[in-house]
């Protein structure tokens, strides 16, 4: 039988985590990578993956020693495993929901979202293979992916590389990037969402 204290630990981890635990864990991860002589930045993997697929023949940007970046691919692979573990073994006792504010629920309804019992699921229904055959799903998954991949490399980093690593090292460039992230995000949310979701 599984000892009681292990079940208690599992139940403890399974609660939704407050923001400060998230902040603490992210810094712990950033520190561990620095300690191992690496730098936290997930989106660099896109470039590595392109290079590994032979993109170096088509653009100099992909001519580099991509095998030296193998450690970062392993971090990404670990993130996949972590997602599996969290979803299958550490699911919240109150179900797979996002504990968003009432104001958010109200404004989502205004955008045409319907929620049973007023609970917001963790992810929207357009995160599915079927949704790829709808305009909305195609925009979100294919369009969103392209913008994220293009923008992250153009800006030289994403949320982990700039907002966390760069800002922690007080880099002015990272501050510009974060301003760019929010300007783009707000433009999408306030100007383009009403066109896409109605």
């Amino acid at each position: 039988m599984v000892p009681d204290f292990l079940i208690q630990i599992k139940d403890f981890i399974s609660q939704p985590w407050p923001w400060y635990v998230g902040g603490l864990m992210i810094v712990a991860i950033m520190f561990l990578l620095l300690y191992f002589g690496k730098e936290f930045g997930i989106s660099a993997n896109f470039r590595t993956m392109c290079a590994a697929d032979g993109a170096g023949d088509m653009a100099d940007f992909f001519k580099f020693d991509w095998q030296s970046q193998g450690w970062n691919l392993l971090v990404a692979l670990g993130a996949v495993f972590g997602g599996y573990l969290a979803a299958n073994y550490f699911a919240s006792p109150d179900g797979n929901i996002a504990h968003v504010s009432d104001a958010t629920i109200e404004s989502l309804k205004g955008l045409g979202f319907n929620f049973e019992n007023g609970e917001v699921p963790l992810v929207p229904e357009f995160y599915s293979w079927e949704a790829l055959f709808t305009l909305k799903g195609l925009l979100v998954i294919v369009g969103g992916g392209f913008l994220v991949g293009f923008g992250a490399r153009y800006a030289g980093g994403c949320t982990s590389g700039h907002a966390i690593s760069g800002m922690s090292a007080l880099q002015l460039g990272s501050l510009y990037a974060v301003i760019g992230f929010f300007a783009g995000g707000l433009f999408m949310t306030y100007i383009l969402f009403p066109l896409i979701f109605n």
Partner: protein
């Protein structure tokens, strides 16, 4: 290279992103509507603590596990690439509700459609690589 430690770090990262709901499209939506402190709390507490940790590393001249002093490279300060690139990234972040880290996490959580998202992101990076010399940086 010791492989298992990077996979372990990734697992910790994945569980953190999932359990703080940073992987949720609805949390990102909420953040861009300023309707909750949650996401800002995660980001700002990480930055505040991160600044202290980085300063401590620099002042102590802390050595890495390989025995060399930990070096944090300064980023180039020309603003156009950060603002333009960041803006494009932000459009995608808000639309898809995920940035690159959470995308890998969701793939493992059972949303296998994110394989398509990853391929699209690689395509985006590839197109950037082709156009790089023509873009303002």
């Amino acid at each position: 290279m010791r492989m298992s430690r990077y996979i372990m770090i990734g697992i910790l990262f994945g569980i953190t992103m999932y359990k703080t709901e940073a992987v949720s499209w609805f949390r990102i939506y909420e953040m861009f509507h300023f309707q909750s402190f949650h996401m800002y709390g995660i980001i700002f507490s990480a930055i505040a603590l991160g600044v202290v940790v980085v300063q401590w590393i620099k002042r102590k001249h802390l050595k890495s596990s390989e025995g060399q002093e930990i070096k944090i490279n300064d980023k180039d300060k020309h603003w156009p690439r950060y603002i333009f690139g960041g803006f494009i990234f932000g459009l995608g972040w808000a639309l898809a509700g995920v940035c690159p880290g959470p995308m890998f996490v969701l793939m493992g959580s059972g949303y296998t459609v994110f394989i398509v998202f990853l391929l699209s992101a690689m395509t985006g990076t590839f197109v950037y690589g082709l156009l790089r010399k023509k873009l303002p940086h």
